[in-house]
Amino acid sequence: MKASFFANMKISRKLVAVFLATSLIAMGVNIFIYFNLNQALDKINSVFASNISLNELSDTLNKIHTGLTGYLETKGTDDLELYYASEQRMHMQMRSLNSSVSDNGVRLAERDMYNMLETYLKTADEAVLAKRGRNIDEYIEKYNECSRIKDYLNTYIYSVNNEQFKTNSENYMALINSLRYTEIMSVLIFAVASVMNVLLIIILTSTITRPLTRLSAKADEISQGSPENVEPLEVYSEDEVGKVTRAFNEMLASIKDYIARIRTQLITQSEMKEKNLLMETHLKDAQLKYLQSQINPHFLFNTLNAGAQLAMMEGADRTVEYIRNMADFFRYNVKKSSETVKLSEEIELVDSYMYILNVRYAGEILFEKDIDESLLGVMVPSMIIQPLVENSIKYGIKDLEPGEGKVTLSVYREDKMCCIRVSDNGIGTDEEIIEKIMNHEKKPSETRGVGITNVMSRLDLYYNNKEVFEMKSRKNEGTHVTIKIPLEDANV
């Protein structure tokens, strides 16, 4: 929870938190050591305090005695004031002395001093009183007693001072030695805390910089190419780096998607090109077939036109009609061979063809049309009906008696389809051949003319392999070929 809280913090805050934490630790340790060291120094300073207080005691005693001596000598008020002030101070200072019996030499000496001071002060007071009462013998005696006790006290103070100085010096040395240990200890603690802080900084800053390093490594990987193989980065935090990582991942996904789309586009484009090339090939193939099998149409038109004009001049109307039909038929072939055309034009071509054939065969072939005129504007690839009609005549009804052969062209609408059917009443086509034709296994030379295979191939290419071609036949009942053009593709 805490880790994720830290991970989601802003980088600036993270850095502040890291340095604040380590600084606080260092400061805490420093304050702790400083506070304790100060305490130790205070203790060391207090070592000689007893010597100082003893010296003060001696000073005060000497002042009392000076005051007492002065007062007893001259009865001076200044001396008496000095005496009383010093006496008061002495009472204060005596509080620090031990007054109980102890087996400790110094404390016992303090107790002796305390009692001797009491005796001294009492005797001094008595001396002052005796002076006031002018009892000379008594105050001299008391004064002598005071002098004696003062001498004892000074000796005691000096001795205890010496003794305490000795003890205090030993304590001082012990304290100083201990202080050296504490110094080493504090240096050790500080060193450990510093190492800890450094490690803490390493850990915490690495949590900040590690995602950046990973991000830069990923960027390197992408710059070396093939970004589609680069895996997206995992997002561990919600800080700035986390946001950048997320954006980076989205960018990576976009690049991958873009690359995939371009690839698909390229594939489609190349497929289209291939298809166009195939179409062109088939058309050229058909055209070649016509060119090979027929005379140069331009020469033919000109000759036919000359023939028609001749026939007209001779008044042979039927000949004129025949020659015109022929001319139309070949012109159509030359003109429309590479385009899509209206269904009506295709039908006109078939009409011309049938007229020519009927002139040739002296009206032996019966041709019937059943046309839904609303479909005449449907656009279809050129040269798709005439080859079928040609096929029916060539293979379907060729063996019938003259006048019996019949070819029917029907154009009708069925389920949003424009159906073009060419049927005959001929001998029919073998199932085997139909199957071969439908599976495109039959070479054009083997089939019933140029027609069906070429038409089928072009229709396949034009309508993207949609099942638009259908061929049905029964023995001696003729053959029915149907082209079903989807009306949405037909650009009506």
């Binding site: 340790v29 702790f32 050591i33 304790n36 060291l37 305490q39 130790a40 203790k43 060391i44 070592v47 109980s100 019996v101 102890s102 087996d103 400790n104 404390r107 016992l108 000496a109 107790r111 002796d112 001093m113 009692n115 001797m116 009491e118 005796t119 001294y120 004696r148 006790i149 004892y152 000796t155 005691y156 000096y158 001795s159 010496n162 003794e163 205090n168 304590n171 012990a174 304290l175 201990s178 202080l179 240990y181 504490t182 200890m185 050790l188 603690i189 450990v192 805390a193 190492v195 800890m196 490690l199 803490l200 390493i202 850990i203 690495s206 590690r210 990973r214 895996e231 980065l233 995992e234």
Partner: protein
């Protein structure tokens, strides 16, 4: 690869975090130990001491003598066992005070009792009176302060001691097989009381015998004078060809100094010593033969009597004003088995 790196980083971070945790605890433990160290600094100054309800002062004639130190040791031990403390007043000071000053110090420092090695000087008597006037009981020990109003006297029965010295002289004469025996007694010029008593007792014992006893006062006023004085006297006697058969010493310092002098003057065999006290050099000298016999004070008995008397006086206000303590004779027959520290049981 990426996942592997991430997991390796995690392991590293975990290890570092572990180290940080260990270091953190080390720091905390160090700080606690450090605090303990700082606190223990102050304890150096405070020495354990026992508080007692009563304080008695012990004032010896010669605080540096072994006998005084021994008695003080016994008194202190017994006192502590009985809930009071004894201070050898004037000791451990930068100045050496006279006995009178030491009594004065004891009085002005308001002790609960004084154990005093008495003498018959007026000054001591006056100070005893001053102490008593201040409500401080005074018990004299070893030698009395007859003129004073002291509370009690723990006597060493010096008369008996004198008799015993006399008995030893007679025994020596018997051992030597001579008719007469010359003896010299070395008296301390400080203590007029006890030495005189012993001397008188010996004289009384020897009265009518063929043993002659002459006395010589040794100056013990300064620490170095004793040995010099004895040597001087021996030189003098040597010059007169009058080295005594026996030298009687009545304190430890005189005894030890005499032993040293007769060894130095190569008089071992010509003369012998009847000593006083049971210090190690004296006991060794008995074993070697330079000392014939010595008399040790029943220090523990003295200690008991002094402390009990003062405690009883402070508790009830009434005590017996005279008590005695004995001596132990040490010679060749018992020196090997004698234990100076064990004389408590014998007393």
């Amino acid at each position: 690869m990426e996942k592997m790196r991430v997991s390796r980083n995690r392991i590293m971070v975990t290890i570092l975090a572990g180290i940080v945790l260990v270091l953190f605890f080390a720091t905390v433990a160090g700080l606690i130990y450090y605090r303990g160290m700082i606190r223990s600094l102050g304890k150096v100054q405070e020495e354990a001491s026992v508080v007692y309800p009563r304080l008695y002062a012990y004032i010896a004639e010669d605080p540096d003598s072994q006998l005084s130190k021994r008695i003080y040791k016994e008194i202190t031990e017994y006192a502590q066992e009985n809930g009071c403390y004894v201070e050898m007043t004037g000791q451990n000071l930068t100045k050496t005070y006279s006995k009178a000053d030491r009594i004065n110090i004891a009085i002005s420092s308001k002790v609960d009792g004084i154990i005093l090695e008495g003498d018959n000087s007026e000054e001591t008597s006056a100070l005893c009176k001053k102490a008593m006037d201040n409500g401080i009981p005074v018990v004299t020990v070893m030698s009395d302060c007859e003129e004073s109003s002291r509370t009690s006297f723990v006597n060493l029965n010096n008369v008996d001691l004198g008799k015993e010295y006399g008995r030893q002289l007679a025994k020596l004469r018997g051992e030597k097989g001579t008719i007469s025996l010359k003896a010299v007694i070395l008296l301390d010029n400080d203590t007029k009381n006890s030495d005189d008593t012993v001397y008188r007792s010996i004289m009384a014992y020897l009265n009518g015998s063929t043993i002659s006893l002459s006395s010589y006062t040794v100056d013990t006023s300064t620490p170095f004078a004793t040995e010099e004085n004895i040597m001087k006297k021996l030189d003098e006697l040597d010059r007169q060809n009058n080295i005594p058969d026996v030298i009687i010493c009545l304190n430890d310092r005189t005894t030890e100094s005499t032993i040293q002098c007769i060894v130095e003057k190569n008089l071992v065999g010509k003369t012998t010593v009847l000593g006083y006290y049971d210090s190690e050099p004296i006991l060794k000298s008995i074993e070697k033969g330079s000392v014939y016999a010595t008399f040790a004070v029943e220090a523990n008995t003295i200690a008991k009597q002094c402390i009990n008397t003062l405690n009883e006086y402070n508790d009830t206000g009434n005590v017996s004003n005279y008590m005695t303590a004995g001596f132990i004779k040490i010679d060749k027959t018992n020196v090997a088995t004698y234990d100076p520290e064990g004389d408590r049981n014998e007393g």
